[in-house]
Symmetry: D2
Subunit: 257 residues, 4 copies
C-alpha cells in the first residue's frame, strides 16, 4: 500500500509543527493529597517536518499518547522522545489541558467540597533540550480599590481569573500555585458558602481591595521568591461587574521596558 | 443532472426541521434612534420535510435569505413564506442572532458610548399561522441582598445576564425590553464610567440589592403590564463573584405549579 | 443572622427554576464494560420557588449534589427528591453533562483506543412524577449522496454530529445509542486509523452516502424498534466541507404535520 | 475625589499590559470593492504600567477607541499614540477581531453571495517603533492525498481553516491573502452551490488532494513571493471527517531547525 506521507517533497519548506489538535482522553495526574487524580484531557501534539518529507503519520501520535501512562513532567518528556523517534523528527511539542479538583473547606463552617482549576502541562523537546511549562487558571474575587475609595458605601467586585504559567526547575504542586493566586486576590472563591462563610468572604474582600494590576503584582512577588521557578507569566482578567467587557493585566519574569 | 433530493423516500419518517445552521450574513435591523442599524447575523433556517421526499435543497435557503432585505417581523414572515413556496414544504422556521448597539450616556458625566446587546428574532410559520419571538440578552449588575444584610460592610456583586424572550402582538423596540431588564436589576452596566459615574453606580447597586430571583420577578411584573406582549420567558444568570459557578432563575408568563 | 431568602415575597410571581448553573464536579457513571467510569460533569440544578418566598438557598444544591454518589437514573431521582425536601419546593430539575469514553478498535487492524462521546442525563421531578432523559452526541461521517451521484469521481464528505435524546422506561446503555448513531451514518469515526483502516473507512463511506436527512431517518427507524424508548428526538448536524455553515435535520417520535 | 490609580506603587513590578478585553464596537474597515464595510469588532487594548504607578485609567481606553474612526493600519497607529499620550505609558497594544464579508460567485453558475472571513488587525507601538499584523481565518476544503491514493474510490475530505498572520511593509488587501489561502487548498468553500457547482467543487477537490502540510507549504510559497510581506505565520487545521479530532500544520517565515 502506497505511503504518500513518506514521499520526497521538493517545495523546500520545513514545517515547525505538524500533528493533532483537540484530542480528548481520560488521564491520571499527580495529586498532592490523594497521590493521583483521574481527569479528562484535551491534547495537542506535534513534531517538526523536514523540508524534504511530504507528510507526517498522524495515527502514530494517538498510538503514543494513549500509552503515556500517568501524566507527569517525566512522562511528558518520555512521550515527546517517543514522538521524535517514531515520527523521525528533531523536535516534538505537546500541550495537555485538564480540569483539576482540589478539596476546599468553606472559610468559617469548614464544609468541604471540590473546586475546579483549569490546568495545562506543556512540553517541548528539541535535540537534548526539554522545556516544561505548567499553567493554572484560578477563579478569585477582585474588589475595586477605586470604587471603594470614592463611594460612601459598597464597592464593585466580581469574579476574576488568574492565569499563571511557570517554567520550573523541579516539581511544583498545582496546589502551591493556586494558593499564590488566591492569596494575591481580594478573596478566594468557594463552591459552598453558608451564611457565616458568605459574611466572612464579603467582609474580607472589602478589606482587601485589589485591581487586576495589584493581583498581577502580588502573584509576581510571590513567584519571584520561589526558587523552583525559572520563569513565569501572569495574566489577570476581571469579568467587570460594572461593564460588559473585562479588565486585564499581564506581566512576566524579567519584564522591563 | 440527477436530482437525488427529489427522489421518493419509502422510510415513512417525516422530518420536523431540515435546513442550514450558523450561516453568517451582514443585515440591517430597525433602530429606534437611527432608523436602521447595520450588524452581522448568525442564521438558522429550516423547513419540514414530508415523509415521502428524500431531501431538501439546501442552496435555496441561502438564495432566499440573502435577498430578505432589512430584518423586521414582516420580512421574517415573507422570508418564511418564500421558503415554504420554493422548498415545497408546509412549515418554515428561522432564527436570526445578532448584536445590537444602543447609545448610552454614563449616569453622571453623561459621556455617550455604545453598549452591545445580543438579540434574536425567531419566526415560525405553519399554514397561515405566524409566530414571532424577539429575544434580548442584557448585561446588568446584581448585588446580593443576603450578603449585604449579614455583612458589616460591603456586599458581593457581579455581572449578570438577563435573557428575555417575548411573543408580541405588535412591534416592540429592543430598547424598551432592554430598559425593563436594566430597571429590574441592581444597576445597569456602562461602557464608560468616569470616577463620578463609578461612585454613582457603586452606591446605586448597594441601595438596590437583587437576587436573580428578584430580577426575574421585577422583569415579569413589568412585562405583565405591557399589552403588546402575549407571552414572555425571563432567565437571569449571575456570574457569581464568590463562586466558580452561576446562580440562575427562570420564569415565564402563565407559570404556576 | 438574618435569613433574607426566607422572607415573604409579596410580588406574587412564582418562579419555575431557581438554582445553580455550570457547576463542575468529578463523577462516576455506569460503564457497560468496566462497570463504572470516572469522568467530569458540568451540572445545572434547580427547584421551583413559590410565589410568596423571597429566595432559594443556593448552597444546599451543592451540598446535596456532592453527596449524590454514582450517577444513575435512580440516583438522579433520589437527588431530586432531596432537593425538593431540603429546599421545600414542589419540583426539582437537574442536567448533568459529561464526557464518556468507549473502547473502539479500528475497523481492519483492530488497534484499540478510546473514543469520546458527549453525554447528558436530565431529570425532572414534580410531585410523584419522574422524567429522565439521556442524551448522546456522536461524531460520524456523512458522505453526500447528491455529490456522489452528479460527480464523475469523489464525493464531498465531513464530520457530522448526531444528537439523540431518549426518554426510556428501563435502563439503556450509552453504548447502544451510540451504535445506532454510527450504523445510521455513512461511517463511524475512529481515534486511530492505520492505512488499511483508512482505506476501509474511505470506501465504506463512499458506498453508504447519507444526507443529514437520511441519518435522522435511519436513527428514527432504529429507535422506533426499541421497546425501552418512550420518546426520542434526533438532530444531525454536518460540518459541511463545501460550505462555511452546517446542514442539519431534526425529528422526534410522534412528529407529523 | 481620590485618584487611587495615580498613587505611587512601591512593589517595584512593572506590568507589560494593562487594559480592556473583549470590548464590542461597530467599526468600518477598508473594502477593496465597496471602499468601506461596516462590521462589528471585539477589541483588546492595553498599555504598559511603570513599576511605580498603582493603576491605569481603564475608562480612557474606551473614550479613545470609540473615536478612532475607520479602522486602517494608520488609524490603529494613531489610536495607539493617543493611548500612550493619555495613559502616560511608553507602549500600547491593540487587537481588533472582526468578520469581513467578500462577494463570491459560485464557480459554474456564478450566483453571487457573501462569504465570511474572520480577521484581525493587531498593532503594537513602543517609542517610535510601530508593528502591525493582519490576520485572516479562511475556510477551505482539504481532500486527503493518502486516502485517495490507497482507496479504490472516494477520498475523505473536510472543512479546514487556514489562519494566516502577516507583518506587512505596505497595505495588503484582505482579499489577496484570502485568495492565497483558497488557491493553496483542495478547493475554496462557497455559500451557495447549485448542482453544477457542487459537481465542479467535488471533482476539483478530488483532483487537488492536499494534506494540512501541503496547504501550509503552498501558502508559504505564495507569501514568500510577495514583497509587501516582511513576515508571516500560517496554521492549517482540518476538522478531520474520519476522526473526532483535528489535524494541523504550522510554519512561519524564517523557520529552520
Amino acid at each position: 500500500m502506497k505511503d504518500i506521507q513518506n514521499e520526497v517533497d521538493r517545495r523546500n519548506i520545513a514545517l515547525k509543527n505538524v500533528g493533532i489538535k483537540d484530542f480528548k482522553l481520560p488521564i491520571s495526574v499527580l495529586d498532592r493529597e490523594a497521590k493521583t487524580q483521574k481527569t479528562i484531557a484535551k491534547i495537542d501534539a506535534s513534531v517538526d517536518l523536514p523540508h524534504d518529507v511530504k507528510g507526517t503519520h498522524m495515527s502514530r501520535f494517538i498510538e503514543i499518547i494513549k500509552d503515556m501512562g500517568s501524566v507527569s513532567p517525566e512522562n511528558v518528556e518520555k512521550t515527546l522522545d517517543r514522538m521524535i523517534e517514531k515520527l523521525e523528527s528533531k523536535s516534538a511539542y505537546m500541550k495537555i489541558n485538564f480540569d483539576y479538583f482540589i478539596k476546599k473547606p468553606s472559610p468559617v463552617t469548614e464544609i468541604e467540597s471540590l473546586t475546579d482549576i483549569v490546568c495545562s502541562y506543556e512540553g517541548f523537546k528539541v535535540v537534548d533540550e526539554f522545556k516544561f511549562l505548567m499553567g493554572v487558571s484560578v477563579p478569585v474575587i477582585t474588589l475595586c480599590p477605586c470604587s471603594k475609595a470614592i463611594s460612601e458605601f459598597g464597592a464593585h467586585n466580581q469574579r476574576a481569573i488568574v492565569e499563571i504559567v511557570v517554567d520550573t526547575n523541579s516539581f511544583v504542586w498545582i496546589e502551591d500555585i493556586v494558593k499564590i493566586a488566591e492569596e494575591s486576590a481580594s478573596s478566594p472563591v468557594y463552591p459552598i458558602l453558608k451564611r457565616q462563610d458568605e459574611k466572612y468572604v464579603t467582609e474580607q474582600s472589602y478589606l482587601n481591595p485589589r485591581f487586576v494590576e495589584d493581583v498581577a503584582r502580588e502573584v509576581a512577588i510571590r513567584l519571584e521568591e520561589n526558587e523552583k521557578i525559572n520563569w513565569y507569566g501572569v495574566g489577570v482578567e476581571s469579568i467587570e461587574s460594572i461593564h460588559n467587557h473585562s479588565a486585564f493585566a499581564y506581566t512576566e519574569k524579567g519584564y522591563t521596558l
